[in-house]
Every structure is written in C-alpha cells, then in structure tokens.
Symmetry: none
Subunit: 235 residues, 2 copies
C-alpha cells in the first residue's frame, strides 16, 4: 500500500473509532509528515483526499478538522420502510422467506464487484403494513464486507438498517421501473390480479466498495416514491 494510503487508513480508523470526534482538529500536514516520516506533500495528499470525500474539512491558516458524519448521510437519507410504515400509524412486520448463501449470478457479480459463482448472501423478505404486504425485498449482499449477514434476525431489524450500522453508506444508486409482476411476486404481495408494480433497484456503497444490490418491488396501488429525482434513460 502506498504511503499516502496508509496515512488515510490511519486517520479513518481514528475517526471511525471515535478517537477523533466530529469537528476535532486533526494533525497538521507537517505533524503527519513527521509522524509518518514522509514529506509534507505526501501527508498533504492524505488530508486532501479525505477532504474531497467530505470526511475532513480544512481552512487555510487554521487547520484540518473532522467533518460531521451526519452531512454524509444527509445526501442519502434513505428512509427505513419500518419507520415509514410506523410513522403513518400502522403496524410494521416482516416475513423472512429466505436467507442463504448462493453462487453469484453474473448481473449481481458485476454490480457488487464479485466474480461469477463466487459466494454471495441473499435474502428475501416481505414487508407488511398491518396485515397487508407492502413490498417484496430481494437483496444480494457482498460477504466480504458483511460476513455476518446471514446470522441476523431480520424479523427484528431490517436489512437496510443493519447494513447502515455495519458498513456506513457513502453512496447509493437507484433505478425505478414500472414492471409487470411475475407469479411469484404476485403471490407474496397477495395480488389477486396482477397490477403494475414499482421496482426500485438500489445499489449501496461504503468506503470499501459496493455493499448490496436490492430489488424492492411494490404494488403501484399501495406504494409511491417521493423525493428529488433525475431522469435517466435505460442503457
């Protein structure tokens, strides 16, 4: 590993462990250069790159400081479906259909940066609002980043909440489609007649790369999406 990368790692550990709290001052370029026996330019690069990632902020003449972690997630305030249901005054529950390890399909491998047929974790969950199925969640999870995924109790905690705690998200990518549900989906969403569904494909990233790929399917009559969006044509 390159020297500047080692310094970055060191600083990230200090921040994530809490040793360097928010808005606290971090060592200056010269201090880091001496501590790690590198030139100032090398230490500077570490500080610079962390600043570009909004992990630090710097002020000329003053110093470098730990940024508020909140501002990182404010951009991707991804609301939890459980909170969403409960805030509407309904009872949230979930039914775990599957939680296993399986060989990675090609599409998933590309999305998560894994190799085809390499082991990948897979979960299949139905989310309920009161007694009504609201969403079918099929999720692939990178085992390298979340090795204990299959040991969790997802009746109690949603995968998304668990992943947020384990691997702090730095980015999320979404695609929304209108689809015609297959029979399996209809069954688990308790659709007597098929109806148009929204399918949200969500890929989340942490500092170390792609964490999970989720397909969230909801009946159009029961669920909507809101927020700030951009258009994008399929490729």
């Amino acid at each position: 590993m390159a020297k500047f990368a080692e310094i970055k790692e060191f600083m990230l550990r200090q921040i994530e462990s809490g040793a360097w709290p928010e808005h606290s001052r971090v060592p200056s370029e010269n201090e880091l250069a001496e501590q790690f026996s590198v030139s100032r330019m090398t230490a500077r690069r570490a500080l610079q790159e962390l600043t570009e990632q909004s992990i630090l902020y710097r002020t000329q003449g003053v110093g470098s400081f730990v940024a508020a972690l909140k501002s990182q997630s404010s951009l991707l305030e991804i609301r939890n479906i459980a909170d969403e249901v409960q805030s509407g005054g309904h009872a949230y529950s979930a039914k775990l259909l599957q939680l296993t390890e399986l060989p990675c399909p090609t599409i998933v491998a590309n999305a998560l940066g894994l190799k085809r047929n390499e082991p990948v974790f897979f979960s299949l969950i139905v989310h309920f609002s009161d007694a009504q199925p609201l969403q079918l969640e099929a999720r692939y999870v990178n085992p390298k980043q979340v090795p204990l995924y299959t040991k969790q109790d997802f009746q109690e905690i949603t995968p998304h909440l668990y992943l947020s705690e384990i691997a702090p998200l730095t980015e999320a990518e979404h695609i929304v489609e209108a689809i015609w549900p297959d029979e399996f989906t209809c069954q688990h969403l308790a659709l007597k007649k098929p109806e148009p569904c929204l399918r949200l494909t969500r890929r989340t990233f942490s500092r170390d790369g792609a964490v999970s790929l989720a397909y969230l399917t909801s009946p159009g009559s029961r669920y909507r999406l809101g927020g700030h969006l951009n258009f994008a044509l399929p490729r």
Copy 2:
C-alpha cells in the same frame, strides 16, 4: 485563477464543445505541461481533479480519456428530456396536442394555490426519441406566474426548459407511481398492448409559490428514473 484551474477550464471547454468527444484521448501530462508552460505536477493536478469528477478516466501506461457523459446526477439538477434523449445519440422531437386555458380542476387548484374554475393554462405534449413516443406530458401552469405560457412554441423549447428560464425553480416535489395507462395514453404512446407505466407527478416551485403541476407518463419498458430518492407512502 490558479494555473491548474485554468487548465481544467480549458479542458472542460474542449469537452463540452465537442472538440474532444467521448473516449477520445486528451493531451498527456507532459504535453499539457509544455502547452501551458507549467510543471508536470501542475498539469497532473488538472487531469487528476477532472478524473475525480468522472469527467476523464486514466489508465497507467496508456493515457487519459474523456469519460462518457452519462450520469451527472446532482441532487437538484432536473434534467431536460430533450437533453437526455440527445445525449443518448437519438433525435428529440415533440408533438403539441393541446395548449389552452381552461377552468381549474379542484386537484390542480389545490396543488397550485388557485381557486376552483379559475383560469389555468394547460399543455399536452408527446416527447419522442427518434420516431418512438417516450413520454406523455400533461401540465398545468399557474397563469399568475407565467402569463405568456400559451404563446410559446413548444415544438422548439420544452415547457420545463421554458419555465426554468422564466421562473427559476427553487424546489421540486415528485411522486412516482406505477400505473395502468388508459386508452388515451396508450394511443399517444403508441402502445399496442397496455403495459405498466411510470407516472411522475412533479410540482415545481419558484420563489413566489407553485408554478406548475406536471404528469409525465412513460412506458416502463422505455423509461426509467435514476437518482437519489426517498420512500414515501401515499397519503
């Protein structure tokens, strides 16, 4: 302006003007250094920062190249459907079906802060990618904010672009639904068989209040949405 920033500006102009097309090779660090009479490290910084912005990509031992312009998704940037189509290498066109003033329906009145049956502008447009209908746009516009709306030529300029110029948007609210298109919609989208469609309801605001309410309907097979989103249950 700092030297490295001047080099960045120069390169951005070349790229945006089309002089340097996608995936074309850009000058090497040494070439830029000589052209701008700076050191290699300064030229390098310009290349480096453009790479971090995903405007270039670089390969060690090979060179630096213009990246695909595709997904520049900043949060508030609402992209124009015409730009979106054209950036995909297709020909954009629009067909104006209706452009009138009519009495305001109740829902629209609530959304735009008008009174029921008060005059409101209404436009109905089909957007095409090459010869294929891509989106049906039904839009209600607040005449108090945009009095000249019905005088525009919307074959030439999209309503969204026109509105952006007249009343700078300060906020936008979106709802995405999966719907079953009615016969009228099927006809104008040239759907032989009905298929699930995405309907984006977009309400835009300027400094002075609600400007317009638009219903944008696209076949699920032809259009997707991307970006940063939040979930929201229907009210």
